[in-house]
Symmetry: C2
Subunit: 496 residues, 2 copies
């Protein structure tokens, strides 16, 4: 075996073991919601702390250091294939971050976010922002420390955004968001009157949880989701956990049928991306997909560009009518119009496809102001309400309707919200290319044939896992960098 | 710090880390039923394999070896307290087993049992013993290998029994079981006619799962179980997983109300024992209780000696009537008599308190014949049916009603079944002492006061975790070794 081959072998082994640790960590994160009893939390932190440290010791070991040095000095053209090269890139990133961010801070971050998420849940139940204040404060402070440890020459938000969305900057996001805001506000003004007359009250049906569950799983499993690779659980907040290369956990909330359908489509969209790495990608432990915008583009694509299309319901509405008595006398057009009624709302997860984009923008702007030193987390309640008033014309009556609605800031997802709206932007680009490749794709969907859709997604995005960076993949799949044009065109086409 | 103190410190640290590995392993075992999708199984085996090996490497390391040697040579009277001594005993046991059983066999056993349990579930669904044959065969073969690795001078079943129930032998079990069989058959003959007239058909009520769940949790939480230390999940087979010192997972099946009440009482009985180690026991990582008979004595005590007592239902029956319409016109005596109707049955988990004891005896006898070389696993279906015919006068119509009803042989619990019946025997001994200490304990229970019961259990059993061996603890708590007399007396008293 040549030195190169030996090093590649060791590289694959090293990443594989890091993924093993990632796997148990992800299982424990899922279990936080899923099974962990209150009095088990303290001990759980010792367990996660121990394994985070073990993984860190391995990545910072002398063996890994030598390996990293070897690949850092290796010329790009010396790699025998793209998998070797990608694995080296991933290892170097992991190593640099492990060396830069002190292990004590990593463990503190992990322990703190698990505590903070439970505190968030209690604050949400009581709709009490004051209870949440110390947690959100510390969460931002810890993330600032992480950002400084990675690169103290930049604004922390730029570092955090780059950590989620490699290659993206706050300035670039600002540019994209301004273009979007103009378009959304323009469309909103043009359709507001027409939309106000649409009746969507009938969507609020009363169905028991078992039925909601079976309807939602029927829909995702008959369009794209492979139930042999994922299981569903009911918890408060819909989230997707990737536990292994062919193992994802969809959590959702079965309380209300229509929101549940779309949150299932969303999380299963993450799921199919997470579990669809090709065999080579799995062999190199590069499975799971690219975090941030690319991942959100997949969830939001299935949720909206597919799940809120007319053709999707041409196929599924008969089934839905057979399951829900209240829909028996509602025709498809009325149902479709109600689903797509544009109406500014207070909750991100209840928002229509158009105004949704403003919700992450509000959160991103608050993060920006915080890191510019112009806003304190203690004032997030008021700042949130003021922005909702300004952008959506609505003001939350309490913290539950407002600043407490998302778990993200408690779970350490700071510098993350932009990815939802940017995921939509990617979605517009993908849709454009998908239609070029398969002009009849939506027509096929109306007959229940999802093959072209899923094939395009697999071939262009899903199979690659983390093989490429986000910027490289969007260029490979669409020939262009991120561009708001296609998504804006789509919004005009759909809503006007 | 003296050498002794340094070694004790290292001892505590070593056991603690072994428990961390145990904790993730237990979480993954629970997750097998709870969340793991089919296509995730293969990867899961790599993950568990890796961590089992890591834990084994740590326990077999030179540092641990030196530590073990130090404590092996240390005089018993040199230990400064019982915790130090117990921790040394636990470490030496763990070390010896790790050294004796090859790591490849440990990993094979772990991977095989997770596959076999899933195969068991499929075979059960199809009631097909042929599907199960290769798995049960290999399970017994692997366990025989484990037994030989531990001690090849004894019959493998003696080794396996000692592994579950330290200090117990097949000969001793045979002796206890013969005494029991005589008594049970005697009682059975005396009450058969009277019992046949008892109507228990009304127990089969039709209630939805959500209600079953809330009734069962109300009962366990209002008698002894602390919901901050455990969570419930619905799966096929009721089991208790201990994940941390204050963290247990109760799995059960919410299909039928009455069986569910008793399986919840049973599993939560394991639970309270598992999570109730005192602070010192937790500090030394000796929490969780003694496996085998001692653990089963606790689950079966709460299930039967408490849960099937008249006084228990004097307290809870009003609540049950308020939740179940069908019980409104059934009086307490009729309900109690139906619950305690003695009627030989095919399913262990449905058995009455008297004939229950024969079910584990049948399984234990089959294991014995297997390890004597007189019975092949391929013939377990017929052997099972013949024994049910002989002992209980009933013959299963199919494998689902018969040999497939328990997961144990698939999960590697071979040499385990005796502990259920012996747990009842312990229960009789505990009940005798409990009544000496608190003569009014059952009367108190009839008023909903469980303090004396829980206090006695905590003080005499629960708090100690693994501090003592099984034999030492039964002597400490009752002044005697295991003896069938008290349980037999109890059975005569209750049923005649």
């Amino acid at each position: 075996m040549s030195t190169y081959e030996q090093n590649i072998k060791q590289l694959k082994e090293t990443i594989k073991i890091q993924r093993y640790y990632g796997s148990i960590n992800s299982l424990m994160a899922w279990d936080l919601w899923q099974g962990l009893p209150v009095d088990g939390r303290e001990y759980r932190q010792s367990v996660t702390g121990y394994f985070i440290k073990e993984a860190s010791n391995l990545i910072k070991s002398n063996e890994t250091k030598k390996l990293v040095e070897y690949f850092r000095e290796l010329d790009d053209n010396r790699y025998e294939n793209i998998y070797d090269k990608a694995a080296a890139r991933v290892l170097i990133n992991k190593y640099d971050k492990a060396v830069k961010v002190p292990i004590e801070l990593q463990i503190e971050m992990n322990n703190f976010t698990s505590t903070a998420q439970m505190a968030w849940k209690e604050a949400l139940d009581k709709s009490d922002f004051n209870m949440y204040k110390p947690y959100i404060k510390k969460s931002f402070e810890l993330k600032a420390k992480v950002a400084e440890a990675i690169d103290n020459t930049k604004n922390p938000l730029d570092v955090l955004v780059d950590d989620v969305d490699e290659g993206l900057t706050v300035a670039k996001i600002d540019e994209l968001f301004s273009e979007l805001k103009v378009a959304i506000i323009d469309i909103l003004e043009k359709i507001r009157d027409k939309n106000e007359t649409i009746d969507d009250s009938f969507l609020n049906v009363n169905i028991d949880k078992e039925n909601v569950k079976s309807i939602c799983s029927h829909i995702v499993e008959n369009s794209f989701f492979d139930k042999n690779k994922g299981t569903y659980q009911e918890v408060l907040h819909p989230v997707l956990y990737g536990v292994g290369p062919r193992d994802v956990r969809v959590t959702t909330n079965y309380k209300r049928l229509i929101p549940c359908i779309f949150s299932m489509l969303h999380e299963c969209g993450h799921g199919i991306y997470e579990y669809s790495g090709n065999d080579k990608v799995v062999e190199y432990s590069l499975y799971g997909g690219i975090s941030g915008t690319m991942h959100e583009s997949q969830s939001r694509f299935y949720e909206n560009l597919i799940g809120k299309s007319y053709e999707f319901w041409q196929y599924f509405y008969t089934f839905l009518q057979s399951e829900v008595n209240e829909f028996k006398n509602i025709d498809l057009d009325k149902f479709y119009n109600a689903l797509n009624k544009v109406k500014p709302s207070l909750r991100r997860l209840d928002a229509d496809e158009l105004t949704y984009n403003l919700h992450p923008i509000i959160r991103f702007e608050m993060e920006k102001e915080y890191f510019q030193g112009n806003l304190k987390t203690d004032d997030f309640y008021e700042a949130w309400n003021a922005k909702y008033k300004e952008y959506l014309g609505l003001e939350p009556k309490n913290a539950k309707e407002g600043v407490l609605q998302d778990v993200h800031w408690a779970s350490g997802h700071i510098g993350y919200f932009q990815s939802y709206t940017l995921g939509n932007v990617y979605g517009g680009q993908f849709r454009n290319k998908l239609l070029e490749a398969y002009p009849n794709v939506y027509k096929e969907i109306s007959f229940g044939n999802f093959d072209s859709l899923n094939k395009w997604m697999y071939e262009n995005i899903h199979q690659y896992g983390n093989l490429y960076t986000q910027n490289d993949l969007i260029k490979k799949a669409t020939g262009e960098e991120i561009k708001s044009k296609y998504f804006i065109d789509y919004l005009y086409e759909k809503f006007l």
